[in-house]
Amino acid sequence: MRKNTRPRGVLGIVAVAAVIALSASGCTRGGTNQGGGSNAASPGITDSSITLGITTPLSGAIAGQGTCTVAGVTAYFGALNAAGGVKFGDGKTRTVSIKSYDDGYDPQKSLANFQQMVSDNVFAATAGLGTPTNRAFREAAISQKVPQVLVMTGDPLFSDRKQSPWQLGFVPIYQNEGAAFGKLIAGSGQPHKVAILSQNDDYGKGYVQGFKDAIKGASNISVVGEQTYEATDTSVDAQLTQLASSGADVFFDAMSITPLAIASLQKAQQLGWKPSWFLPSNTSSPAAILGPGGAAAYPGIYSVSFAKAPQSPAFAKDPDVVKFLADLKQYAKYPDMPAFPHCMWSYMVGATLEQAFKTMTEPTRDNFMTALRNVKGLQAPLMLSGTSVDTTTDGQPAVSSVLVQKYDGKGYATVQNFG
């Protein structure tokens, strides 16, 4: 009896699927014909609005950073929309709406999200965090001529115009950061012994490459120990023990994993090794990493930044910071002090986009890319003085200038000299 019912169950499902497919087939392909009239507006932009899409991890291990990438842009344009919108270069004033999509740091999902963006008529993808997730839809974005701009990855591929004509990275590439620190200690004139620990991938290698290039020829700097770890490792105790025995007084720690960074700050103290540290910008959060790691025990924690840290007492009354925190709270449902710099970066992405919008003269993606590649010397809100947005150089992301900063117990302050 049961055997007889089986095929009917299958048939039922097939039949239902067929009905769904048939009923959905009423929709036809249209609206995606690009390259028609040059003045025809691209999808996602009307005379009164423009829609941007963000695919970013909103769940999983890096949900904190991912949430920030949405919150910053949303806050920035939320405030502008409340004031009426952005006046575009073609004379029309448009409101900016943001659609966010969770990819959970899964490349397959970020591609799916991109495809959905296209079907949702999104003008451009922006601000998404993650190298694999951005790479997953990079080629699709190129072939469909959809801008994928000001994304949060230090992967240089996104800033190479020939290979990535519809892309642009926002944050400094890894090499920029490593080089800034290398330059600082090379310029100190003092003899320093450096130990290096790096993640065994393009991230860690990029930092180390930038650092080594910067100290090349500096006779006062010697690298006395070098170790790597895998991004999947849960402990770097062995590497730290080894490096501690090298007697280095400077520790260049190119690490992207939050828990590992905290654990190594603690472990080195247990070993009695107290060098000056360098930490990359995305693992140097005072609240999320340095505090729990007990960083105050070290003579100096250095990182690089181009954003004002809202936690720092030095910026507590800064008008940019005050407005930023208020916007986050009011428009992005993010009432807390941002734990990750991605919130600030994403806010600057908003400012950079606004600048491009102001100068684009036609409501097309083509024209937008031209306008976006023409932003120079923009001092976006929250940017430290001495850094700026510059999208005009091939091979460089929108922000390539960084300043070395030192932890002062609560936040960071820019330093000119090492020590």
């Binding site: 049961r2 299958v10 499902i13 067929a18 799916a112 959905q116």
Partner: protein, 386 residues
């Protein structure tokens, strides 16, 4: 309940020719719809169907080893990733695409065979532990073997752009590639589980000692099921690359293996159609939760998982059966004013209940008291009411 018309002859004379014609017509109709659908659907629908195909094949493999053979496998995503990497490498080298496909299946199957030869010697949960190790080893391995895998930046390979002669859009072309492989995979799997190996899988799942006493070697059957699952994993990896055109170590992260497992259980363990539903679940639920609130995807996915498991513990594939049960019961209530008819039918299995429905249909005109009581007997499985 139009089905009722089919039920009667089926139960009276099992190999009914009329029923077969209906089946063939429905199958042909479905095939035509599946073939024509991409020409009329918007690109996003095609792209979504493509991804459903990719994961349906992966879930299907998992179903063979877990649903049918009862061996816990938490490493299926490793074989998907392996197939994807083999495909990416082959495409980069400019090999013939058919060769690449065969290699993706073969290499995944070979690795699966090697693992299974060792793992199947272990009992129950130990197999699960071995399979957990696969993606955990796989991710750092993919990062280190940069020459093959492109390291942590991943590797892209495009080979599924529609050729000019086809006159199709890329998404349509991809759809047909995936439809071809997926349909073939499902057909093969269906034949496998319905034949002697399917019966052997079932016996091994129920009781290994019984299997051994019947001359079926549980060890061999487990190795076979595991290898077949790996081959399907490799094929799914090939399709993954056809659809996504990019793979990175993130592809084979352990969490996705658990998601595949959840998709299989939700679709229906031990069911071919359930695998297809599982693939659809894997792809559609993130889309759905994204539409609800992108900030709460984990919570809403967990909620959907719990709801489905509570309402349909046998998976979504049991939905028609459950619906029939419910509608059948409702009709009973309406049919006669006898309050005893509302006795819940939970104690009875699906088969006697269906009998009850048939009885009703046959004797609807007469409907005497005896018949009603007979029905109740079937429903409740109790004799004392007669």
């Amino acid at each position: 309940m139009r089905n009722r018309l089919n039920v009667q002859p089926q139960s009276l004379k099992p190999p009914s020719t009329g029923n077969r014609t209906v089946r063939i017509v429905v199958l042909v109709l479905a095939a035509v719809v599946l073939l024509l659908a991409p020409l009329n659907l918007p690109p996003f629908a095609n792209q979504t169907l493509v991804r459903i195909g990719v994961y349906a094949v992966a879930v299907l493999g998992l179903n063979i080893v877990m649903g049918y053979t009862g061996q816990v496998n938490l490493g299926q995503i490793f074989f998907v990733g392996l197939g994807a990497y083999v495909t990416a490498y082959g495409v980069k080298q400019g090999w013939n695409i058919l060769l690449v496909f065969v290699l993706a299946c073969l290499i995944a199957g070979l690795v699966g065979l090697l693992v299974a030869l060792a793992a199947a010697r272990l009992g129950g949960l130990a197999i699960a532990m071995v399979t957990i190790a696969l993606p955990i080893v796989g991710v750092p391995l993919a990062k280190r073997l940069e020459g093959f895998t492109g390291g942590s930046q991943g590797i892209s390979a495009r080979f599924t752009d529609a050729p000019d002669w086809s006159g199709l859009y890329n998404d349509q072309w991809q759809y047909y590639i995936i439809l071809l492989v997926t349909a073939a995979g499902f057909l093969l799997a269906r034949n496998l589980v319905r034949g002697k190996y399917g019966r052997a899988f079932g016996v091994v799942k129920e009781n290994e000692a019984v299997a051994a006493s019947m001359g079926v070697s549980p060890y061999r059957i487990k190795v076979l099921a595991f290898t077949v699952a790996s081959i399907f994993g490799g094929a799914s990896g090939f399709l993954y690359l056809a659809a996504v055109q990019y793979t990175s170590p993130e592809t084979l992260s352990f969490g996705h293996s658990i998601s595949l497992l959840a998709a299989m259980v939700i679709g229906g363990a031990g069911s071919i159609a359930g695998s297809l539903i599982g693939g659809a679940y894997y792809v559609l639920v993130p889309l759905l939760t994204n539409a609800v609130d992108p900030g709460l995807t984990t919570v809403s996915q967990g909620a959907i998982l719990l709801i489905v498991l509570f309402l349909l513990p046998e998976g979504l594939v049991s939905l028609p059966r459950v619906l029939r049960r419910i509608t059948g019961r409702n009709r009973d209530r309406r049919g006669a004013g006898d309050p005893q008819r509302t006795v819940p039918a939970t104690a009875a299995g699906a088969a006697p209940e269906k009998q009850a429905i048939q009885h009703q249909a046959e004797h609807r005109a007469i409907q005497d008291q005896t018949d009603q009581q007979q029905t109740i007997q079937h429903q409740t499985g109790r004799q004392d009411q007669a």
